[in-house]
Subunit: 248 residues, 2 copies
């Protein structure tokens, strides 16, 4: 049995997110069915983390085990040949038998793209959040780093998060920056891990600040442990890209 | 009654081409239904030319008449608000009452994109023809200008073209060039007008030459009047973009 680490890119538009769900098309489910064809048996593909419906991947990482003696480079080609063209395996390498793409991750980086021009090209419509309306961008850029550090991100969790196990919502964000790049605002966030909807909710709150609805104190209040403030609003999924996972 | 000239961009992926067809979603049909909503009456939208199913538009031109006294700039915004996001009106201007976007066109330009890298990004899959296999690109680049000048393009017409009116298939091509640009081959062709499938068939024949299946003499034979050679093969629609129409 060999373990493989794969890096992949996907257009999330036509998927109900990463995680396998009965009767729905998902990225994980599509990968598992293609790799099972090669193996001739059921294969479990473990991802570095889940992405929501409509969220894209530029360099998502996943892992799985195979008995099949296929050479690494042929495996990459065989998987790409069988996958639909909206998922591509960029790289395959052999990994340690105990490699776990989520537990071994030291940091993950996401990018959120907000298009500010009046028109959004038809060719970009699925890959940016088009927001051509007035925003105090200076304030948004100034507030973005408030999320850096170790915080209880309960006020940025998914609003449907009913974790009865009471697991910690404390996460460490190494970098949280917003920048104007040509006709778009690009938010990049790098951290140890992220709650469901967390990046979209940080962007949603920054957008509210940009609209003048939230002050610096409103943002700070949301980062206080046990603040009890309900999460939201979420920025739309299509602007979000999982852009990389770092390992030791 | 005022006449308007509009310039528009569209992602052709989800349309059965430009021209209205019963029960099918087309670019022209979608525009006509949106503009009819604004006018409160049936409106005919005339295009500079048809594009096939899956072909994209970067700056297609069309025209229509309105009784509605809406200001030009508001018209552009109103149409974009009602259109699906895969069609965008880039510009609207008032035109002469007799302006006809097809008859008045002095030249049209198309671009065809062939991606040569081994992998095709999921985000580009609908906007290039991915051909990572060997091609004699030098020969293709050398042969592309053979289409320049006035020729009978019967051997580059649609294979389902059964024009019983016997209309001329002579067209004048001002420029027909292929160039390597980073990881892709870009074919640009500018001419007075194009037959159905003509650009895709020129690219298809250049690809055959690149594969070593056609010589310079094979291409020249196809450009001889009355050569009787059946058209084809056609390069896939998704690599083709209508990029502009020129008027006096």
């Amino acid at each position: 049995m060999r373990r493989f680490k794969i890096t992949l890119s996907y257009d999330g538009t036509n998927y109900h997110g990463w995680q396998v769900q009965p009767e729905l098309s998902t990225v994980q489910g599509t990968l598992e069915s293609v790799i099972a064809q090669i193996e001739g048996a059921t294969v479990h593909v473990e991802g570095s983390g889940r992405t929501d419906a409509g969220v894209h991947g530029l360099a998502q990482v996943a892992a799985f085990d195979l008995e099949n003696p296929i050479p690494v480079e042929n495996l990459r080609k065989a998987v790409n040949r069988l996958l639909p063209r909206d998922i591509r395996v960029l790289a395959v390498e052999e990994a340690a038998a105990d490699f776990h793409p989520r537990f071994a991750a030291r940091a993950k980086t996401y990018e959120y793209r907000i298009l500010r021009s009046e028109l959004c090209s038809p060719f970009e419509r699925l890959y940016v959040y088009h927001h051509p309306y007035p925003l105090d961008e200076k304030k948004m850029i100034e507030f973005a780093p408030l999320a850096e550090g170790e915080h209880d991100f309960s006020a940025f969790a998914a609003s449907d998060d009913t974790d009865e196990l009471g697991r910690s919502k404390v996460r460490t964000i190494f970098s949280s920056r917003l920048a104007r790049e040509q006709d778009r605002l690009i938010y990049r966030v790098r951290g140890t891990g992220f709650l469901k909807h967390m990046v979209r909710n940080i962007v949603g709150v920054l957008l509210e600040a940009g609209k003048g609805n939230f002050t610096r104190a409103d943002l700070e209040a949301r980062l206080k442990p046990g603040c009890g403030i309900p999460p939201g609003p979420s920025a739309p999924a299509r602007g979000l890209f999982m852009i990389g996972v770092e390992y030791e």
